[in-house]
């Protein structure tokens, strides 16, 4: 069995020789081998492939010169497996005649090398018969009445399409390298040249010169669907250019989704996709209502975050009856129960008085007493609109992530971006720095306001930033000035997120960090506008969840 990764690999050549071909789709839990053999900044896909190859039994791997990471991956693989058929196929980026002719020469050289390696023989007649009658597979399938989603961008593992299917949506097209069907061209007179020309004329990837043709094809495809997911792979930079470009003109709603080819990224993908689908069609996620007390008057929203678990009880008149905020402990289920008990007690209600419970936040799926769950992005949108209908842009900085959400005048989510990959720009980062400065989290924001000297924390990574802060302490800098520098560093990160959703006023800040006056001031300076902050900024998500619950009751 030979492994391969690229759609430009001449798979049919080997298949006609009776070789089993397997496209390598890594689904790994760690990069242990890659960390020893490769630099950390190599793309996650290449690292994943290395893990896969080292734990499988391929007789060889066919690679193409598709990108810098794969070129270096080839060097590592060749060093590691001198006895295997590790072949780098030099694939031209030009699809004109000169490119086709060079690629044909390269493929023929590869065939000779494989014949020598394996003792097998390539027969052009058998190959002709093998490819005869093979047609290009259908690339688009829009289904009437369904929510149609297209996938674009860098190669994607199967999770994205699977999540979409389980959510009842139709994957109308998948134009990533892994989603495209094979395109085999058969030419009677000269089958090899025709075949090679066909390979190079596939829907072009971003390494190809002719990738500018992609625009027209994408426009045509994207217009036929309700939304497009644009996928990128961590440390693969080529597709981000296209995302930046498409964002400026594509009419369909667009979600940027970055993955790193590990099993662990599943949760992050899931939240983003769910929130995107909710923003396209608010009803898409609903589950069947369970039977509850007939005369119940109240609903409950519960937001299970990494730092706090918040619950809100609302009556039929959209009035908040009571709320609770408890610290999230080691088990989110336990904290949720605590928040529930507390809010019921404050409201003077019993569990039976609650007709419907909607959970949200990272721990939303682990809350057993909830009737349904909605992502925190949709809930924040709804909650923010409830507190102040003029809000169009929300900045939510929580314990483990930060996000910017753009709303329309009805409070519906139009766009959002999330940072949940790095601690910089989150509440955790502030906690870390407060610890280093030996002040409490509450003090950190307050002392920042008394700062006299401007200090810039330039490091973009929280670990680097922490050591930068330690250096500042060593240089006898004032705590207040360092705290202010840290607040500005968070504000800079936040501004990046806000800009990506459009910076439409009015602005609101939610989440625990909204209680930090230092950060609030720094963000306001950066955006040049006031932030609206409600009395208890931690309950906005839970309020949104309660509103979802109320809508559900009203539907009945």
């Amino acid at each position: 069995m030979l492994g391969y990764i690229c759609k430009y690999a001449p798979v049919e050549i080997f298949e006609s020789m009776g070789v089993e071909m397997k496209r390598i789709e890594p689904d790994v839990t760690n990069f242990n081998q890659a960390e020893i053999r490769m630099h950390p900044n190599i793309c996650s896909f290449a690292k994943g492939v290395l893990e896969d190859v080292m734990s499988s039994d391929y007789e060889g791997v066919i690679l193409t010169t598709c990108c810098d990471s794969i070129r270096r991956f080839y060097d590592v693989l060749r060093e590691e497996y001198p006895g295997k058929f590790i072949y780098m196929l030099d694939t031209p980026r030009i699809t004109k005649d000169a490119g086709i002719s060079l690629y044909e020469q390269r493929i023929r050289a590869m065939i000779r090398a494989y014949e020598e390696f394996s003792g097998k023989t390539f027969d052009e007649e058998i190959f002709r018969e093998y490819i005869k009658g093979k047609n290009e597979e259908q690339q688009i399938a829009v289904r009437a009445g369904a929510l149609n989603i297209g996938i674009l961008g860098a190669r994607a593992n199967k999770n994205i399409a699977e999540i979409l299917k389980t959510k009842g949506t139709n994957v109308a097209f998948d134009l990533t390298c892994t989603g495209l069907g094979r395109k085999v061209v058969y030419e009677e007179q000269n089958p090899m040249t025709g075949y090679v020309g066909g390979l190079l004329s596939q829907f072009p990837c971003m390494r190809m010169e002719q990738a500018s043709n992609r625009d027209e094809l994408i426009r045509r495809y994207a217009d036929s669907v309700d939304g497009v997911i644009y996928h990128t792979v961590q440390f693969c930079d080529n597709y981000a250019y296209e995302y930046a470009w498409l964002k400026s003109w594509l009419r369909s709603p667009l979600l940027l989704l970055e993955t790193d080819y590990t099993k662990q990224s599943y949760g992050q993908i899931l939240t983003r996709i769910e929130a995107f689908l909710e923003s396209l069609k608010p009803d898409v996620q609903r589950i069947q209502r369970q039977t509850k007390g007939e005369n119940a008057m109240y609903v409950l929203g519960i937001d299970s975050g990494s730092t706090s678990t918040n619950a809100v009880i609302m009556d039929r008149d959209r009035k908040i009856k009571a709320f609770s905020v408890v610290r999230t402990g080691a088990k989110s289920g336990v904290s949720a129960q605590k928040a529930l008990d507390e809010v019921l007690q404050r409201a003077g209600l019993a569990r039976e008085d609650i007709s419907w419970i909607v959970s949200t936040g990272y721990g939303r799926v682990s809350i057993e007493f909830a009737d349904e769950n909605v992502t925190e992005i949709s809930c924040h949108g709804k909650g923010a609109h409830y507190f102040n209908p003029k809000i169009r842009t929300i900045l939510d900085i929580g314990g483990q992530d930060s996000k910017a959400i753009h709303l329309n005048e009805k409070g519906e989510v139009k766009d959002f971006v999330m940072n949940d990959k790095c601690a910089a720009g989150t509440g955790r980062f502030l906690e870390m720095i407060a610890r280093t400065l030996e002040v409490s989290l509450d003090e950190l924001g307050a002392i920042a306001l008394t700062s006299a000297e401007k200090i810039e924390i330039t490091s973009m990574c929280s670990v680097f930033a922490e050591s930068e802060v330690i250096s500042l302490i060593a240089n006898n800098k004032e705590k207040a000035d360092i705290a202010d520098g840290v607040c500005h560093a968070i504000a800079n990160k936040a501004f990046g997120l806000l800009r990506r959703v459009g910076l439409e006023p009015d602005f609101m800040m939610t989440g625990g960090v909204a209680k930090n006056p230092g950060v609030v001031r720094a963000v306001e300076e950066k955006i040049g506008a006031k932030l609206y902050i409600c009395e208890e900024p931690e309950i906005v998500g839970a309020t949104g969840a309660a509103l979802y619950a109320l809508e559900r009751i009203s539907e009945e």
Binding site: N41, R71, P92, I94, D237, F464
Partner: protein, 428 residues
Amino acid sequence: MWIADKYIDYIREQTIENPGQSWGKMLLGFQANKLRTKLLPKKEISKGYQKLEALMMSFVADSLCRPDSYVWGNIFSPCEIMQCFGLGTLSIECLACYLSGYHLEDYFIDYAQNTGIAPTLCSYHKTFVGAIDSGAVPVPQYAVTTSLSCDGNLNTFRYLEKKKGVPFTFLDVPYGDDEASVDYLAGQLRDFAGELERRFGKTFDEKKLKENIRIENETRKELMRFFRLQSEYYYPGELISHLYMMMGMHLLIGTREFLDLVRFMIEEIQTYPKFEGKKILWVHLLPFYQESLQHYFNTNQKYQIIASDIILDSVEEMDAEKPFHALARKIIHNAYNGSYSHRAELVCGLTDTLRPDAVIQFCHWGCKQSSGGSILLKEKMQELEIPMLILDGDGIDKRNSHDGQIKTRLEAFLEMLDSEEKEREEVC
């Protein structure tokens, strides 16, 4: 210096406030700096490196003042062909460095990232994309890039073609190094010369190209001679001097002026005392702003960078009679093309000739092709018993390079080199 710093801060503020309005002032700053390098050169460095700085500053400042006099390129673009049309080649990597002179790299990088450009992309490309996309820097009428070495090349130029309407020629450099590859690229180079004829209304003179290539051959030979001398003599320079040298070897190679400068340096270096310290062969880019590296390698008699593979990334004699094929062969045989073993061979060749005490590879953020092979190169150096240090950081974005971490690694490495020498002395 105080005035210069004030002016830099002023430009930075103006650009951030209104990116489209400060270009004239930036140009004025470049012109002023050009005069400074001529009238008030840095006294502590050698005359040769002073002249090199002045030459590169003039080249960039003068080109930018005349938008019709240059095209954008990447560092591997065939400047020899542009020279035949009287055009300069301003590489986007070098332009990014010059813009960072106004401390604007963070603003431009954030600008690009906020538009959606990947944070993990090379910081030179992000700086450049941000500078152009924000409207702070005007665009020329044409550009050229190769696929050599970096995925970003094609994509950056294509992105700016779409967003800013700068058309460009893309030269696809094959990975393989056989004759078919040379023919394939030579054909593209010939077509490119034709494209420049049409675009700039000038006739291409092949004789001029042949002459450029003859000068280029001479320059490369002389540079090797200079490197050998730099491993023998103390020759005060700065980190940035090596970047200027890299710029010269890629953007001005083929010109008489640059050849003359290298020859001047060969004469001058022999007037300096013998170098008794540790000789370092540098691999890949140099973060010219990094304080600790400046401390150890700017005019330091104990540690001297004697050569870098980024300055001399191609070593072959070119056949001037077949200029397009010669250029194609040179580009294909470049150390940064093909498998990493090819680059490792070139680095080994330099260690054979120059006998450095140690090798330092700087892994620049976002450069996968270079960082990706660093571990393989270290293994190769271990075979040759040459100590090698891998430093991670960023060639341009200070926020990605932590000085404290680089300092600790570097000092530990230098301590190791010094103690090895001590041990050897004791054994003797």
